[in-house]
Amino acid sequence: MCLSVVLLLSCHKEKNVTYELNDVNIEKDAANKDHLKSTLEFISIAYSDIFGTVIPTGSLLNLTETYKSFGDKILIEEMIIKNFLNEPVNLIPEIDKTSSLTIDIFVTDTYKKLFNRNPDEYELWFIADMIQRDSTVTAELIYFSLMTSNEYRYY
């Protein structure tokens, strides 16, 4: 009797378990950007980010010479971006403020476009919260702020 009980408890069929991994996007985060954009790269990328097209050669030459002819590079970059943003036609999307989800989508898309990465949770909350709390915070203000930040100068 005892022997029968022991045999019943000890004999199990072994399960065939397969372990899988979820797909993970490998992206550069802010801490890993250590290459300063060259003048040409900065101007070309900024133009593409705002207008969604390649900068015409003549404009690139003009901007490059203007960039080189001024010593305070941070100031000249801000001025270049301000001029881009003042063009009547650009591809900066409006912020859809109908829900927190649509705002989150705008913030995420903007980080992906300008910083080439997803925002972390804190970044997402901070920018989205600012948009929600202040109706005068526009997409253009967000774009200008991010494009004149230190991270935008690096890749």
Binding site: S59, K68, S69, F70, G71, D72, K82, E87, T136, S149
Partner: protein, 431 residues
């Protein structure tokens, strides 16, 4: 009290008096030994390669009637190539200061960039000069911003160049302990305040102060996230936020006034790039009253292939220099409180290069011969500070003397670490 003890006590008291810094009502702190001769210096590199034969020695007549005394006629064979500028009816510049006729650039290649670097760092360059990088020794801007007390912001220092290329590197050096944090604002007006510049920057989005506050908050948040390893642009000077606004506003105003840049001196077609550069320097002087501004000209470098145009541009540079001095004297805050120093960066060869112009004159290069090392220097300033109408005809002074002289005028030459500079203060210029 014994005489010896009295003398010792008096000596200690005197030493203490000299050594203790003074706090002036303006808040400026400095020791007596660091007193200033003037509160502003403008250094005009009368550059491009000017031979003493055509300038100071007037071999083809007085081509510089605004600078030099004398009514020697311009040589008849080239007079047709010299543009008629307004006649000088006032004092010459040499009468308003001290003229050194025989200054030398003793060492280093007589190339434009290296000689500019020598004049602006006070150190002779070697053969291994890399024109693609900043100079290896501290520029006068960095010496001023690091050693002047109190330390001054970049808005007080300007390097205004009439061409790009390597000259854009001269607003700060790669010297350890110096660099962009002590550099000057640099601008090359002919590229910047131009049609191309206007196309690039003339349509700026203007933000309200409320919008700027929001931008500051968002950008500050982003920068805080990124501050762990990188802080902005490497190799760039940086103005403070407040001063950036002032400079941006000034530039936008320049674009609005861009019509004035076409011919602001009413000279018709005679207005050239040297004049345009000097005129922009005048705008900066009027707007910011900088304590230290360096501006250069280089139109005379056409001498490589056209002698007559070389002397014609020398003639125009003379006019531009006098215009600059006149503007300084009519600018509140700068008038009677500014020392203007003018000096070519190097000379030109004795022997011509065989290229003839339409007047039959041969062109001139600059390839390190003795004559290409011969230059002049002119120091102008208020009567009572700078010795007026004084001329040194014998050899005196070197191109490396300008930096220590500027430092002396602004009162910080004794604060520069020993061994950095080997030039001397041109003390004979001052009372």
């Amino acid at each position: 009290m014994k005489r010896r003890k009295f003398l010792k006590g008096a000596g200690l008291a005197a030493a203490a008096t000299i050594g203790v810094p003074y706090l002036l009502p303006t808040g400026r702190l400095f020791a007596l030994t660091g007193s200033r001769k003037a509160n502003h210096v403008v250094f005009c590199l009368f550059a491009g390669g000017v031979r003493n034969l055509e300038s100071i020695h007037k071999q083809d007549g007085n081509l510089m009637p605004y600078t030099l005394k004398g009514s020697e006629s311009i040589s008849s064979d080239i007079i047709g190539g010299i543009d008629a500028l307004p006649v000088n009816t006032g004092l010459t510049l040499q009468e308003q200061g001290t003229l050194y006729k025989e200054v030398r650039m003793k060492y280093g290649p007589t190339g434009h960039y290296g000689s500019h670097a020598t004049a602006m760092t006070g150190v002779y360059t070697g053969q291994n000069l890399d024109i693609n990088t900043n100079p290896q020794y501290p520029t006068i801007f960095e010496l001023y911003r690091k050693h002047n007390s109190p330390s001054m912001s970049a808005k007080n220092t300007w390097w205004i160049s009439n061409s790009l290329g390597p000259y854009a590197h001269l607003n700060f050096s790669s010297a350890p302990g110096y660099g962009p944090q002590y550099g000057a604002n640099f601008i090359q007006p002919s590229s910047f305040v131009s049609e191309g510049g206007y196309d690039s920057l003339g349509n700026s989005r203007l933000y309200s102060s409320e919008e700027e506050e929001k931008i500051k908050a968002i950008r500050g948040f982003c920068d805080a996230h990124f501050a762990s390893q990188n802080i902005g642009i490497a190799n760039s000077i940086a103005n403070t936020e407040e001063e950036k606004k002032e400079i941006e506003s000034f530039i936008n105003q320049c674009f609005l006034d861009s019509g004035q840049f076409a011919d602001p001196w009413s000279l018709g077609g005679l207005y050239n790039n040297d004049m345009r550069t000097v005129q922009f320097a005048e705008r900066v002087i009027q707007e910011f009253n900088p304590e230290l501004l360096v501006v250069n000209m280089s139109g005379v470098d056409i001498a490589h292939n056209n002698f007559t145009q070389y002397v014609n541009n020398l003639h125009k540079a003379d006019y531009a220099l006098a215009h600059l001095w006149n503007t300084i004297q009519n600018t509140p805050g700068m008038a009677n409180d500014t020392i203007l120093i003018a000096m070519p960066e190097h000379g030109r060869n004795l022997e011509p290069n065989g290229i003839h112009d339409e007047y039959g004159r041969e062109a001139l290069d600059h390839t390190n011969d003795d004559m290409s090392r011969e230059i002049f220097a002119l120091i102008l300033g208020p009567n009572g500070v700078v010795v007026q109408d004084q001329v040194f005809s014998e050899e005196k002074g070197e191109s490396i003397d300008i930096v220590p002289t500027i430092a002396n005028v602004l009162g910080f030459n004794n604060d520069i670490p020993g061994g950095l500079l080997s030039g001397n203060v041109l003390t004979d210029s001052f009372y």
